[in-house]
């Protein structure tokens, strides 16, 4: 692990100027290779702050037209906005049976989408779910604190281990490659989805995220998804993260468990005696 890290760091130093170009996907304006982020007191690129995506990836990471609300009562307020997609190459390389399962997921999304049940969102969905998240950066641990369901990720920068067991948010080890924070996450369960369109993964999911500062208030977020049980090859997503610059910006509670109790357990409510 240490050797790999060393090699990684060395490589990163050698080709550091190339990285922003290599990680860039067609849809995104290239980050200026000259941009060098401000440093934290311990000398690392400073990613601290409250960040959020500005796209419709949580509705569907693939390109999609606008559509009606899946819950009739919400009318236009719950309708799906169109999106150009965030998947590199446009389409997710599903294995044939997996594409079929995604379509079934989509057809039954009101019953099956874990987001509706206030379950932990998984990775990378937590990043683009639409709510803000805060990066809290220390030397040993980098914390990602998400507003949705209070989901939290610890990125181990020094005391790295294999995932001790499967979990919703996975087990994340991180390293710096020049300006880029690279986060390698494994140890997922097979219960979270990638979006509201039923895009999914198995417990063989392996996510590599690259956070590259591209300006004082934007980060380029590149994700590589690997899951041989579901996809025919690794594939990529890319999108910018935008920093909250409001003076009073902060993560607020979205403890959604109480918002879904009636939905999940309402049918088990005691009925008044007849």
């Amino acid at each position: 692990m240490r050797n790999r890290l060393l090699i990684g760091t060395t490589l990163a130093l050698m080709v550091g100027w190339l990285l922003p170009v290599l990680t860039n996907v067609a849809a995104q304006a290239p980050a200026s290779p000259a941009y060098r982020a401000p440093r934290t007191p311990d000398g690392k690129p400073n990613l601290n702050g409250i960040w959020q995506t500005m796209n419709t990836a949580n509705w569907n990471i693939e390109a999609h037209p606008a559509g009606p609300s899946p819950a009739r009562e919400l009318g236009a307020a719950g309708a799906v906005p169109a999106g150009l997609g965030v998947v590199d190459g446009g389409e997710i390389p599903y294995l044939p049976a997996a594409r079929k399962k995604q379509q079934e997921n989509y057809a039954n999304r009101l019953k099956l989408d874990p987001e509706i049940k206030c379950y932990l969102p998984g990775v990378p969905r937590a990043t683009y779910q639409g709510m803000p998240f805060q990066i809290i950066q220390s030397t040993k641990h980098i914390m990602l604190i998400h507003e949705f369901a209070g989901a939290v990720r610890t990125i181990y920068m020094t005391d790295q281990t294999e995932a001790p067991a499967d979990s919703w948010m996975g087990w994340s080890n991180g390293r710096w490659e020049g300006e880029t924070l690279v986060v390698d996450t494994k140890g997922f369960n097979d219960l979270s989805w990638l979006d509201r369109a039923g895009n999914f993964h198995s417990d063989a999911l392996h996510v590599v995220e690259r956070f590259t500062p591209r300006s004082p208030e934007t980060i380029t977020y590149d994700v590589t998804i690997e899951d041989p049980k579901v996809f025919s090859r690794p594939w990529k997503m890319s999108m910018p993260l935008y920093k909250h610059v409001e003076r009073n910006a902060q993560i607020l509670e979205f403890r959604c468990v109480e918002f879904v109790e009636d939905l999940l357990y309402g049918h088990l409510r005691k009925q008044p005696a007849k």
Binding site: T40, I145, N248, E261, D262, Y265
Partner: protein, 357 residues
């Protein structure tokens, strides 16, 4: 059921924790002196890269010391021997074994399926109560308004129905909404009382193992970390309309001590009967490499005739903290509701049978 599963998972990761010593060694005696404060007055905490006293790492506030002084106890401190005896008694009470194969044996046995307090690191303390003020170690009397609100709350709970009538009428921890750990104030949660603290310029984050609850303490830019990102005073104000389960926490450094003030509670998770006007003031001071002194003051003028204060500590423990996905695996709540409805059905059928005879 969820507790057993989660406890078992926790057991795997905490198995390396230090077991409680059974006899008071010289070391334990020293540890028992929570007032070791005086002895370590010269201690200066290491600094984070931005110059804050460093509170980072994995900690536990697990303890057998009760919040209120037990009835019949009049002194403030036990002797080390008395403290040991009290701990032993409490451990015994928690870990009583039943006869295998009997109905009574079907129960949560935390010493088997999880880690109870005695099996992991816990804070030793000569104090007979965590409450240090009022001096009698008891929560002060309620105000008249406090009594009215308490009665009102009991009435509202009664209207919601019995514990297993619905999810909403069950208790907060069974619903995976919030547990005793995160507070504030942060209290021993009977098991998994583990925390992780991470600091960054202008921010102290406290992750509570129980239901992955995170408190982000924003430091006052004027008195906080010297390199706190200055965003003006606007960030310190939160509209009183914003109400949260864990409130809104603001912090400042007073020398070696992190002072955190929390307001904007929603009052739905009362601390010993507090309401939404609760203000909690916490003071964290690192006393040694493995101890953070933790003091808090409860100020809720609508409920209590005076503010009251308690004192405990956080002990260094072994990380990492694993994901506590409570709601996602809450079969316990589902199954008890199903069971309660089936029992009602059975009783109704029985009554019908009796009636037709």
């Amino acid at each position: 059921m969820k507790r057993i599963v989660l406890g078992a998972v926790a057991a795997v990761f905490l198995a390396a924790s230090v077991p409680a010593e059974q006899t008071p060694s010289a070391q334990t005696r020293a540890a028992l002196q929570n007032r070791a404060v005086q002895n370590t007055a010269a201690y200066k905490a290491p600094r984070t890269p931005d110059g804050q006293p460093d509170l980072q790492g994995f900690w536990t506030n697990s303890t057998y010391t009760p919040l209120e002084r037990p009835d019949g106890v009049t002194k403030v401190f036990y002797t080390p021997e008395e403290a040991e005896a009290a701990i032993k008694l409490a451990i015994q009470r928690e870990s009583t074994q039943t006869e295998p194969g009997t109905t009574a044996d079907v129960h949560y046995d935390f010493s088997q399926f999880g880690l109870d307090r005695s099996q992991s690191t816990f804070v030793r303390n000569l104090r007979t109560s965590l409450i240090v003020d009022p001096p009698n170690g008891k929560i002060p009397p309620l105000t008249e308004e406090g009594k009215r609100r308490t009665a009102q709350r009991a009435e509202a709970a009664k209207k919601l129905g019995g514990r297993w009538d619905s999810a909403e009428s069950n208790q907060l921890d069974d619903r995976c909404l919030i547990m005793a750990g995160p507070g504030p104030p942060m209290m021993d949660a009977a098991y998994n009382s583990n925390y992780q603290i991470v600091q960054s310029p202008g921010v102290v984050m406290i992750l509570t193992e129980m239901i992955h609850d995170v408190r982000i303490v924003t430091l006052d830019p004027s008195t906080g970390s010297p390199r706190a990102e200055s965003r003006g005073d606007g960030r310190m104000l939160v509209d009183p309309k914003v109400r949260q389960w864990m409130g809104v926490s603001r912090g400042r450094w007073e020398g070696e001590t992190l002072v955190v003030e929390t307001t904007n509670f929603n009052g739905k998770n009362p601390f010993r009967g507090s309401d939404e006007n609760l203000k909690v003031i916490e003071r964290f001071t690192r006393l040694s490499d493995d101890t953070i002194e933790y003091k808090f003051t409860i100020d809720d003028p609508t409920m209590w005739t005076r503010p009251w204060s308690a004192e405990s500590a956080m002990k260094k423990t072994v990380g990492p903290i694993f994901e506590h996905a409570c709601h996602e695996g809450n079969f316990g709540l589902y199954n008890t509701l199903v069971g309660a409805r089936l029992e009602e059905k059975r009783q109704a059928e029985e009554a019908l049978k009796k009636g037709s005879k």
